[in-house]
Symmetry: C2
Subunit: 350 residues, 2 copies
DNA sequence: CTGAAAGCGCTAACAT
DNA sequence: ATGTTAGCGCTTTCAG
């Protein structure tokens, strides 16, 4: 090829996007005035403001968020770390959080929380959240400190679900209130000795708190639970099925009442009971927990302890934003109650 | 109060976070060397590198992402706009997208897409995505241009679900393939005249494509569908129930086969059929669409056309990142097939 | 009310 | 291999 071709300057591909200077030139003002016209319109003459506005529109100017952030240290970004982004639970929280964030002029950066103490957890989180102004950190396990890499960022952090060590504010769920309501509901027509609690893994706070509430209710009714009445295992349909297969066949002669730590477990019991030809709620009464959408679809419809997920998400964001915009407010610690929705699976027989 | 108190300088609250200069001072090198030690370690002497590393750790230095971005125009952020953040569908995509993004060193900014053409849509999206390097835009409605405010950003955009006008790359779902498989499955033991398609709103591409595939299959079987065999309405359990109540009672003498556009609709049919005392799959055979998690839980388990949601999310991110890092690649247009999972609700009777 | 100028913290030429 | 320096695009005193 002709060597001279190399002398022809390469066309600049990178089209510099329009900057504040371009707008200033176009409107025949200084960049300072453009900045003011955009951010503090009241400091600028009306006539100037419109001229700038026109220039902005004609040029399609968009402030560079990096440059803005460099000065203001603000990004309008909120981090949201969820334990696993699995299941409806996390999702509904995220959904309401997103809606609330938008409403307040923020945007949400999601991230599944890497497994506890994994090495990647460290840099991952910190890197991920390098631009956010605050973080909502969720968890359901009990042992919780804010990961050091996160607290190093010195950001406002609102802990959701469990009491985080190092969080600025905390949003908790009173799992006991709903579990208590459910247990009392069951006890209203079923003898304490015939009530069972099927829990999930004991390190999950919700499962544990519900177990405690259940036990307390039985004790209050004058019949502290036998060991076989409160069993913690896992959150799966299989566990519900397994338990039901082991226990229900020998109990056809009397009503059995079950409080399951999740709707999934409850479904397992429902299915097995149906398979055994036992009637619900006459022979087996079942209450789940979580208020999953399945609860009202499945037949029989499932009584369930509702966790206010939408409120949890909304409040998490609202708290976080309040903290960001008003840092000196005293730390907030809110506990949201859970409540019982009675449906066919545990209905009282007249 | 003593006036002299005012002479005492206010303590600077705002603790300037440690900057690259602080590290440079501590390590007795220039800021350029610190920058290199961090970003291009191979350009720096091993001994210097470790000294810098130590300084960084001792000071707890974290590069300022705004300043970095100002130079590099990179944020490591990917925007993900979903039509409504409702339902499992969006969520599973988000989940797999998040996982893939992390894997590639990016982070996801979520945003429910404001309703088509709403005024807020404009500024909202653009503002929200001011920091992202690319956007994955999902939709299920047919008429789709990329919102102008978004295309003004001149970012790589991958359209997911439908063919976006203005998207750089496109990821589509072949809803026909699964619907065809389902229809053929139904036709294998049920006469074409006894097959029905219950659709959702006609502006949803999935619903429409499935309707077309269904019709085509019936035609191919020599029996083009009557108008009452292909009905589009809405995606709700209520619609399934309504249809079943209207149609099924008069069809007890022969098998009825139903392809429903969503699992929700299918559940409605299942419930009503059960309520009418009709047996599934003997008298009524049902196939849903979407592969929702409920499908394998409910009894009878529901045959369903599976949409590869996890792959959709993963591929969306992978495509987007490829485009960001290699802008000159020819536009990609991928179509993912759907397939049929046969379960109890439509099982062939031996 | 507006303009000039000083950075914000960093990367990337360009020197050395 | 390292240092010097010029910005990136914006906000914000500080003067006029």
């Amino acid at each position: 090829m002709d060597e001279r071709e190399n002398l022809i300057p390469r066309i600049r591909i990178r089209k510099r996007s329009v900057s504040i200077q371009d707008v200033a030139d176009r409107a025949a003002v200084s960049i300072a005035t453009v900045s003011r016209a955009v951010n503090k319109p009241h400091l600028v003459a009306a006539e100037t403001a419109t001229r700038v506005q026109h220039a902005i529109e004609e040029l399609g100017y968009r402030p560079n968020r990096f440059a803005q952030g460099l000065m203001t240290q603000r990004s309008g970004l909120l981090g949201m770390a969820l334990p696993d982004l699995r299941g409806e639970f996390d999702f509904e929280i995220l959904r309401s959080a997103d809606a609330e964030a938008r409403r307040l002029g923020y945007q949400i950066l999601v991230s599944a929380l890497p497994p506890h103490g994994s090495p990647s957890s460290a840099s991952a989180l910190a890197g991920a959240f390098g631009l956010v102004e605050g973080v909502a950190l969720m968890a359901l396990e009990s042992d919780n400190r804010v990961p050091p890499q996160l607290s190093d960022l010195r950001l406002p952090i609102v802990g959701v679900g469990v009491s985080f060590d190092g969080a600025t504010d905390v949003l908790l769920v009173n799992h006991a209130s709903g579990a208590r309501a459910a247990t009392i509901h069951l006890l209203s027509t079923t003898m304490p000795e015939n009530c069972f609690y099927l829990g999930g893994p004991p390190h999950l706070v919700d499962s544990r708190e519900r177990a405690d509430a259940f036990s307390a209710c039985l004790s209050a009714a004058g019949s502290p639970p036998r060991p076989d009445q409160v069993i913690c295992n896992e959150c799966s349909m299989a566990w519900g099925e397994h338990w039901a297969n082991e226990v229900l066949p020998s109990r056809r002669d009397r009503t059995t009442a079950v409080l399951a730590a999740t709707d999934q477990i409850a479904y397992g019991v429902v299915r097995t009971a149906q398979g055994l030809g036992m009637s619900i709620p006459e022979q087996v009464r079942i209450v789940g927990c979580d208020g999953s959408s399945l609860a009202s679809i499945i037949r029989p419809t499932l009584s369930t302890v509702r966790v206010p997920r939408d409120e949890l998400g909304r409040l998490a964001i609202r708290t976080l934003v309040a903290r960001i915009e008003e840092p000196e407010t005293p730390p907030l610690r809110v506990v949201l109650d859970t409540d019982l929705t009675v449906r066919e699976s545990s209905a009282l027989i007249a």
